[in-house]
Symmetry: C2
Subunit: 541 residues, 2 copies
């Protein structure tokens, strides 16, 4: 017997309409190339979104066709998100930091029909255009007066396109399972793979991120999404903020600039921000150097990479709460958030430092478990570690156009590729990537923990650990180090001595090699595959 | 084209499992007849819920069968909620304050198979049992030692029943649209009508209520649901608290006792509570009389009836934020919450007093509109008022077993029966019930506003306004007053003079009648139908 409740689909269109009705005067502020501080309201934004959708309707696209973006966080990118998704198209956000051959691959794989791009990316697009036969037009996110000269075939001025549309456009009814957005993950090997979000998954994810134990956004918040809109929908903030009436502040292409961020925070009264550790390092360096403060800022969500404790402690001194978030492109992205335990007073400072670095508790909707090599579930005791699997309505079931080839090893569960512990209070902590874990004498060594200890050494700029064949232990850790500016005299024995008392003795690397630089992916992660290739002839003998 | 996201159903079972994994040690505290302060954890609660479900499985019921409750807010009622819903049955919460003939009607209409009842209600049940042929057993929420002597046929001891089950019980997979709970609304006329909730509607409603602008619950909260679990699922708190890890404090049959409430708040560290104005009046009277404070309490949600400004102002002095909520049984129940506008400083104290009394802004998921007599939508200008219609995934599509007869006047929209305004910032304010509005010379007079002014008079205990035939204006307001203890000398002319300057001149009642008491429904609302009957021969001549 079914309940007798209205069959109202979960949709991004409903977010737009809710904001128009309930928070029409709330502002969206943006840094763009043509305006250092553009500001308007949700009312104006969504009237323009309807104009844009009306213009796009003239293109004769089919439901599910991909509209791509190559853009920074600003209001035009925001408008494109909504116009595409609410029209029934798919907003394919492209990471401009990918290598050109990857960009060409994903544009063709998605069969993008139009690409909306920031003027900054016109030179990049000009290199790619000839190899992208599905693209019928390149829409430059600019007013007519600032349109750059370009050789792009079918270049269209965004503001001219938008002005041709009517804001009386009526949104189509959409199924809640309809696709709305597409984002490719770039692994360290193989082609990038596409994750195809639905209206349903996007709305449910936004509800969950709004919970006080996740991002906790209200209509009193002013949110600065530093995490790019081309990187998993800026963690859902373009949806969650209009849902709750929070003001949005978009940093445009200045997202890495500490001074701009501090100015935006102070002048716009930013209360909450979200980004990767790198941007916080830039902001904190600027604050320390300038003596500026960020008094309106209440909390930041840190994700995308492990957050150094020093970032948290620095934010502590500014009265800003740091929350570690964990997720993946395949998870929309949010899976867990670390909010301080209610019983903070029961922890010593040292124990608390350990707890706050964990990836946190799953937000309701995401289920997690850890399993051993045979797929058997491991205890949630904070000690046992195993492969982390997740499931939930905003976790991907398969990759775009790879539906047949990538069935999950265990039906219904997504393999994150991470190794993790889960403690009795539900706090998950990532200890490694499955591929990077080192198996020494049948036991696992966490490469991440070894790397963290190595990186703490004042003479080390960067460090990576890989497992190398060992005749007795099967594998042992090899530490590869890039010396810091003041570390040119760092020796292997000095490096190894550093591990004494900082880590289990048998986790201490078997050997150290020094290099000038480590191989990185387009998103800045160490390419362990390339590193292993580099040391394929290395031997512990 | 559909998204490629996991098809994981929204379910109450997922709430239970989330709490077990992520907040196993969080407490549920209850006042029961056999224990003035029972306490255990979510881990223990949900192990018992599995035991109960295992025992219930022996009954051989079908999915969708109704398990009814006649119970106060406590842990056994909580367990019954989950055991029934997660087993695929429907938890039918019965309001014990209904008249016996209504109780018999709804038990038979729902075809309840078992009724779980508090020992307090055994005498009531004994009166009804012979008229309830579908009921196979009466489960008394008690341990064996405290079982009351009873003539109930098939009386079962709850604790004995539960102890017979195994906590290894495995939950069945359920469709998200499956029915999970049933609650009847008692109108002022006709039979009560049943609202049948689904797993999907319940989870979505809980997500929405958790938002900071709604109840804003986190794992740091301690929640005291004073609103009964037999009244629209205690506004969803039995679901929302386990979703977020908040501690629950159930007041049992002491929900109306100010002293008990204050003690529970102080001893359990309650941060948030929810209830109707009457209970707040009891709590505040106790605080004023005893000099006690409630320092842990941060906010209260007030709903079910209009909240007097004096309640808010009294809570202000205790540092407690009052949030008006508005909803209906047909809306799961929450439709809107009034959180202070972000721009509080822009309001004068007088203007703010007006704003905070409004029903608030819709929470995301609920759409509202006001329409005129012809169904045309009216402007959201804060002035125009019309019939309020709502829609959303937790709004009822039709009543239980009345699916054919009660199609909505406008498909897809539920008629609330309220008259309301909506202002440009999205704040809705109820001005009247559609049936109670007074049409004077073609214009509407809000009976609620007139009643509020009347009730503010120090000599008035209670007041109600009804429209009576008038030869010139078609209808004019008649004010019916119950004098207060110090108001025995109150005259009609003194009463009418009170309206001068407090209300539009033409809204002032045409006449005043004094009575000893007003007719009330089982839930304490004034029965206007009975009142009109009482004055059917009244004439303004």
């Amino acid at each position: 017997m079914n309940g007798l409740m209205m069959n109202v689909p979960l949709s991004i269109t409903a977010i737009l309409e809710h904001a128009e009705r309930c928070n029409p005067d709330v502002e969206i502020v943006s840094v763009t190339r043509d305006n250092p501080r553009h500001r308007y309201t949700y009312r104006e934004a969504f009237a323009r979104v309807r104009q844009l959708a009306d213009s796009m309707a003239q293109w004769g696209l089919a439901q599910g066709d991909c509209i791509a973006t190559l853009a920074w966080n600003d209001y035009r990118h925001f408008e494109t998100y909504y116009a595409a998704a609410c029209s029934g198209y798919v907003c394919h956000t492209i990471n401009p930091r990918l290598f050109p051959e990857q960009l060409v691959y994903i544009i063709n794989h998605a069969a993008d029909r139009y690409i909306f791009l920031d003027p900054d990316f016109v030179p990049l697009a000009e290199q790619l255009a000839a190899q992208c036969p599905t693209v019928q037009g390149w829409v430059v996110l600019s007013p007519e007066a600032q349109m750059p000269a370009t050789s792009l075939p079918g270049a269209i001025c965004y503001e001219t396109l938008l002005a041709a549309g009517a804001d009386s456009f009526v949104w189509p009814a959409l199924d809640e399972n309809a696709a709305c957005a597409l984002c490719y993950t770039s692994g360290t090997t193989g082609h990038p793979k596409g994750v195809l979000y639905s209206h349903r998954s996007t709305v449910l994810h936004a509800y969950a991120t709004l919970m006080p134990d996740a991002m906790g956004l209200s209509h009193r918040d002013v949110v600065l999404p530093i995490v790019p809109m081309f990187h998993v929908n800026a963690w859902g903030t373009p949806y969650s903020c209009p849902m709750t009436g929070a003001k949005l502040v978009f940093p445009g292409n200045r997202m890495g600039d500490g001074a701009t961020l501090a100015t935006l925070i102070n002048e716009e009264g930013v209360t909450m921000s979200a980004g990767v550790p790198t941007v916080w390092l830039a902001l904190l360096a600027h604050l320390k150097g300038s003596g500026q403060r960020v008094d309106s800022l209440q909390r930041v969500i840190v994700g995308g990479a492990a957050c150094p404790l020093s970032v948290m402690e620095d934010f502590d001194t500014y009265g800003v709460e740091t929350r570690v978030g964990w997720g993946m492109t395949e998870m929309s992205p949010l899976g867990s958030v670390n909010t301080s335990p209610a019983s903070r007073e029961k922890y010593s400072d040292e124990a608390f430092a350990k707890v706050r670095l964990k990836a946190g508790r799953p937000i309701f909707g995401v289920e997690m478990k850890i399993v051993d090599d045979h797929g058997a579930e491991l205890p949630r005791d904070g000690v046992a570690y195993g492969s982390l699997k997740v499931r939930g309505p905003w976790v991907c079931s398969s990759y775009f156009k790879l539906e047949d080839s990538d069935a999950h090893a265990e039906p219904g569960w997504f393999e994150t590729g991470d190794v993790a512990t889960i403690d009795p209070q539900g706090f998950m902590a990532i200890t490694d990537r499955t591929k990077d874990v080192i198996k020494s004498g049948g036991e696992w060594i966490s490469s991440i923990e070894v790397e963290n200890v190595a990186t703490d050494h004042p003479k080390v700029a960067e460090a990576a650990v890989i497992g190398q064949y060992h005749p007795k232990w099967s594998e042992r850790p090899l530490l590869v180090v890039v010396r810091g500016p003041n570390g040119q005299d760092l020796t292997a024995s000095e490096m190894l001595a550093w591990f004494d008392g900082r880590i289990a003795k048998w986790w201490t690397p078997e050997a150290v090699e020094f290099v000038d630089e480590l191989p990185h992916t387009a998103t800045g992660k160490v390419q362990k595959v390339a590193l292993r290739e580099l040391f394929k002839d290395f031997s512990f003998d």
